[in-house]
């Protein structure tokens, strides 16, 4: 096997950008897509997951429908739907950049998975917690805000960590709508330089570094918010 890494310093043909520059910028796009989609997923996932546990049948039903919809369609198909189908149905969306469409697609897809975790977290708390909040005169929203969600999020932090890692990996679908992120870079650079092994090794390490950083960061958050003496599942 004969390695050849020099090409990373070669010009891609425009006279100023090297393959290394291109790869760094692609990494930036990957992180941007994943990061923005994560904000969308966390926001919608928390709201939808919470609504699934409220006593109102209509709200809970609508939230369940959301989860079933976004969980049961393959991610790639969802991205194409957002990119090709939705803008034809809603013409103003034709002006919206594909980056936004991908962020929404990936974000909503992941929101269904986050919602599922949040619901499970809330329901793992004993019923007495909700009643205790109400019995002390808190409104239902206050009970969620101050009593249920703080504990529920602590409980679901580990599964949320793996969802955050998934969203980085899943952001590779953005290549399908021509966003110049890491996977797109890998495919094109491989074609242009015929150095597929080196390209994919480099790209793979960047994915690994990104997910590891997310994993370590959230593990740190987990230790910071841990409740002393609390071993899950208790009342």
């Amino acid at each position: 096997m004969n390695w050849e890494w020099q090409f990373f310093l070669r010009d891609i043909g425009d006279g100023e950008t090297t393959y290394l520059d291109w790869m760094i910028s692609a990494w930036g796009w990957t992180l941007a897509v994943a990061g923005c989609a994560w904000v969308v997923a966390l926001l919608f996932g928390s709201i939808i997951g919470t609504l699934r546990t409220v006593p109102n049948r209509w709200l809970a039903g609508a939230a369940n429908a959301w989860v079933e919809l976004f969980r049961n369609i393959p991610l790639l198909v969802q991205i194409f739907l957002w990119y090709f189908v939705v803008p034809t149905l809603v013409p103003p969306l034709q002006q919206v950049p594909s980056f936004i469409m991908v962020v929404l697609g990936l974000g909503f897809f992941t929101s269904a998975r986050v919602a599922e975790q949040v619901r499970a977290g809330i329901q793992s708390l004993s019923r007495g917690q909700r009643n205790a909040g109400l019995a002390l005169g808190l409104t239902l929203p206050q009970t969620y805000r101050f009593v249920l969600l703080p504990m529920a999020f602590r409980i679901v932090l580990p599964p949320l960590t793996s969802e955050a890692m998934n969203i980085i990996k899943n952001s590779s679908v953005a290549f399908a709508v021509s966003i110049s992120e890491l996977t797109m870079f890998a495919m094109q650079a491989q074609e242009e330089t015929s150095r597929g092994i080196e390209v994919y090794l480099a790209v793979t390490s960047l994915y690994i570094v990104s997910t590891m950083v997310v994993n370590r960061a959230l593990a740190y958050v987990e230790t910071r918010v841990r409740v002393p003496g609390y071993v899950g599942g208790g009342k």
Binding site: S126, G128, L134, A135, L136, G137, V227, P228, G229, Y230
Partner: protein
Amino acid sequence: MTHSSSFVDAKQKRTDTRGYTGTLAISRFRAPVPLLEIRRVTRRFGDFVAVDDVSIAVEPGEFFTLLGPSGCGKTTLLRMIAGFDMPDEGQILLDGKDLADTPPERRPVHTVFQSYALFPHMTVAQNVAFPLRMAGRPAQEVARRTQEELDIVHLSDKAGAYPHELSGGQKQRVALARGLVNRPRLLLLDEPLGALDAKLRVEMQLELTMLQKNLGITFIFVTHAQYEALALSDRIAVMNSGRVEQLDTPDHIYGSPRNRFVADFIGKINLYNCSVIATSSESLRLSVAGLGEVWAPPHADVPAGTAGTFALRPEHARIVPRSQNPLMKNHLFGRVREFFYVGDVTTYVIDLDSGVRFQALLANSAPGRAKFFELGDEVAVEWPNEAGMFLSR
């Protein structure tokens, strides 16, 4: 107000309410509308009737106790008052207004839950302060009141601990402090002292009555500890299988139980099947299984031949050596089979000559005296007519 004076105060008021005399009692019991009224409430789970046609009126400032064996429906009734469960039939009224459409958080009612339900992500102090903070009280007041409340339940040194670092009794006291801290009009307490050791329990009972009287908060207190109920309550509802068997002041519950269940559940008692031989305005002559003929106080509407229960409290019987002549008309002979010394009193189990068991209780009032009789001693037991009770089955 110092602790000792407020305690005297509390006791004073209690005697007043029980005797139905004095200005306090009048202001308390002549209120035009009760604070809480439970009107013919029934709650079913499938075919099972957990609460069966219960009617109770609780007056403002009252220490009201629901007493009954496990599973008799106490918690179910509390849950309906708090609004976490709805009656299948009947109404619950607060200040005369039906609560059916008022959700739990809008009822001026707090609950101290049997399972504590502390918030695990908050420290002890944060748990106690929480209702005040949610009510938007100024920070200074929150800090002061939280500290006061922690002092009352003896948990100031645990202010920074989390619920999972506490013992059961400590958790229970945090729950109590949290329930009291913003002075609800009605506090529902579901066995709030169940997890405490005997000494702390007595201490907390004292604190509870003092607090309750000083703050004027109405308590509905659930327990299956009969002595606790007798010691603390203004009135008690004795419950059994979802029904209220008797609703009365502690002295009436103990002294004039309405039926066999209440007599048996509250305190120690001798119970025998009996039937009425003859009835007059001065006394009731009974034929009691194993005791023979005994006399009891007159009883309204029990014609000769009525079957029932003869009941006698052990402390109302006197034990004398068999050789000594009994003085009372009701007397029987037997021998000491067993005795239980508990310090202040000794309970003697006596095998009567007829073969039935009889319990009598003697106070160890002479210093150094632990018992008056030995196992196997030949004795006589006797009791005055007024001590006996005729109860429906």
